[in-house]
């Protein structure tokens, strides 16, 4: 049953319903939210605050740089959580129930990816507001541009997380692979430190990390009040590639190798 009858509801409504389900699933596990929020607060207001006293870069307020980067790293981190949900659903048999819902596979997958991105944005907005208020980012257009970059990053990372969730079979391996991937895309990026200080063997790749694209775009918008179009273009490419991959792998998993 690749296509189910969905005449009663318009497709956009069904996709939105799938997405809203994922948003509510995240908020039903408050522990994850508490952990990530605590981590953000300690990292910004303890770690970044203290270490910025030891870092002196002309033209850059490192405390501010790290705070904006932390929001970007946090949204990437929370976007990865959708993979854990999808993996658990498959293990616990909830996926079988979800597949009986009157929604086509395409809408189901787009809804999951959209839900992953939406909940990451909803979750990160309070942190974004803290950073915006603390450093006085008040221009509406730069704020919207930064949020757009964050949303694109969340959308792409969700696709990446779905790809890993449906590709790795062992629960233990899945945990560590996703944690390693999360660490690699965040640390080997320009979110937490300027490119000029990253060792050359990482600096070669760091500008192409999706987290770098989002961080560069957010910094340009909020701090320099300029639009970083190459970074936004990079984010769009990342979204297209990983949503495509995630959807392909998810279709394969759902249909045993037959595309919907």
């Amino acid at each position: 049953m690749n296509e189910t009858s969905t005449t009663a509801e318009p497709p956009t409504h069904l996709i939105l319903q799938m997405a809203l389900r994922d948003v509510s699933v995240l908020f039903r596990t408050p522990w994850i939210i508490i952990t990530r929020a605590l981590s953000f607060i300690v990292q910004v207001f303890v770690f970044a605050n203290l270490i910025s006293g030891l870092i002196h870069i002309p033209g850059i307020n490192y405390f501010e740089y790290y705070a904006v980067g932390s929001v970007v790293a946090t949204i990437a981190s929370i976007s990865f959580v959708i993979g854990y949900d999808i993996f658990e659903e498959a293990e616990e048999g909830v996926l079988d129930y979800l597949l009986t819902l009157p929604i086509s596979r395409r809408q189901f997958i787009i809804g999951r990816a959209l839900g992953g991105a939406m909940r990451a944005i909803v979750y990160t907005i309070p942190m974004f507001i803290i950073v915006a208020v603390f450093w006085g980012f008040s221009q509406p257009v730069p704020i919207l541009t930064a949020l757009l970059s964050l949303f694109l990053l969340a959308f792409g990372v969700t696709g990446m997380s779905i790809t890993v969730a449906v590709s790795v079979k062992s629960a233990n391996r899945f945990d560590v692979v996703l944690a390693l991937l999360e660490l690699a895309v965040s640390r080997a990026s320009t979110a937490l430190y300027p490119i000029g200080f990253i060792p050359i063997y990482v600096a070669v790749f760091a500008p192409f990390s999706p987290v770098s694209f989002a961080a560069d775009s957010a910094h340009s918008s909020l701090v320099n009040l300029t639009l970083d179009l190459p970074a936004i273009a990079g984010l769009v490419a990342f979204v297209v590639i990983f949503l495509g991959l995630g959807a392909t792998f998810y279709f394969r998993r759902l249909e045993g190798g037959v595309y919907a």
Partner: protein
């Protein structure tokens, strides 16, 4: 068979569980490498004016964080045994007294942690120029003593966490405390005075100080001399946490 002769067998079982998926050990080393060669190397270039190479100052932290992750993995395995695999009843049928079983599980976690950080400790010893000196044994002693406390803590969490979400949350909170409220990245004097007691009682503070004292380089605000004083201070919380883990393991096994 006497109780003491069973201890190595229980430890061996825990080590076998670690190697049941060698991929996990490799991933832990990959995490260590990212921490050291990306994050620490970058901060080494960012931070100036510390009187010595900041990269070397924070390098042992990468290894101790790996030890912490490996130590928590032991606690997670104990949690899985109870809530997922339902193995607690079987373990209690083994011909060994419960306190011995519980302490052996803690020791098993320490051995796993030392094994998981074995290559990382070698890398740090190489960076510190003590690879071919007797100080390398002190380096492993520091990792083992630090892991002892963290394994104890992780087993205590396993006793009280009924869901994996709660377990992961408490673990993350402890990891934040160990990483950011310690002397891992900066000296204790940098912290506001109200945080200083929290930082000074953090096992990570003493473990990393002991490591830094092994280096022939004199770092800013690290007391000169051998590591014995710092190791002795580290032993206090480590033994206390190990005892806590043992007691909690016995307590939760009776449930």
């Amino acid at each position: 068979m006497s109780n003491t002769r069973l201890i190595p067998l229980i430890i061996e079982r825990d080590v076998r569980i670690l190697f049941s998926d060698a991929f996990l050990v490799a991933i832990m080393f990959a995490n260590f490498s990212i921490d050291l060669f990306v994050t620490a190397a970058t901060f080494g270039r960012l931070v100036t004016g510390q009187g010595a190479n900041y990269f070397l100052y924070i390098a042992p932290g990468s290894n101790l964080i790996t030890a912490m992750v490996a130590a928590f993995q032991s606690g997670r395995d104990v949690w899985r045994e109870k809530y997922i695999k339902d193995l607690t009843s079987y373990l209690l049928t083994l011909p060994v007294q419960r306190p011995v079983l519980a302490f052996s599980r803690v020791l098993g976690g320490v051995v796993r942690s030392v094994i998981a950080t074995f290559p990382g400790t070698l890398v740090i010893c190489y960076l510190y120029g003590i690879l071919f000196t007797p100080k390398i044994f002190i380096a492993y002693l520091i990792v083992g003593l630090f892991s002892l406390g963290i394994v104890g803590l992780s087993m205590a969490i396993s006793a009280f966490s009924s869901s994996i979400e709660m377990w992961v949350t408490v673990r993350s909170a402890i990891q934040l405390y160990l990483s950011f409220l310690s002397a891992l990245f900066y000296p204790v004097s940098v912290f506001p005075s109200f945080l200083a007691p929290i930082v000074s009682s953090n096992p990570m503070t003493w473990a990393i100080q002991a490591f830094r004292q092994l280096s022939p380089i004199s770092f800013a605000q690290v007391p000169a001399g051998d590591s014995l004083g710092s190791i002795a201070t580290l032993a206090g919380p480590s033994l206390a946490f190990a005892l806590l883990g043992t007691v909690c393991y016995i307590w939760y096994s009776k449930l």
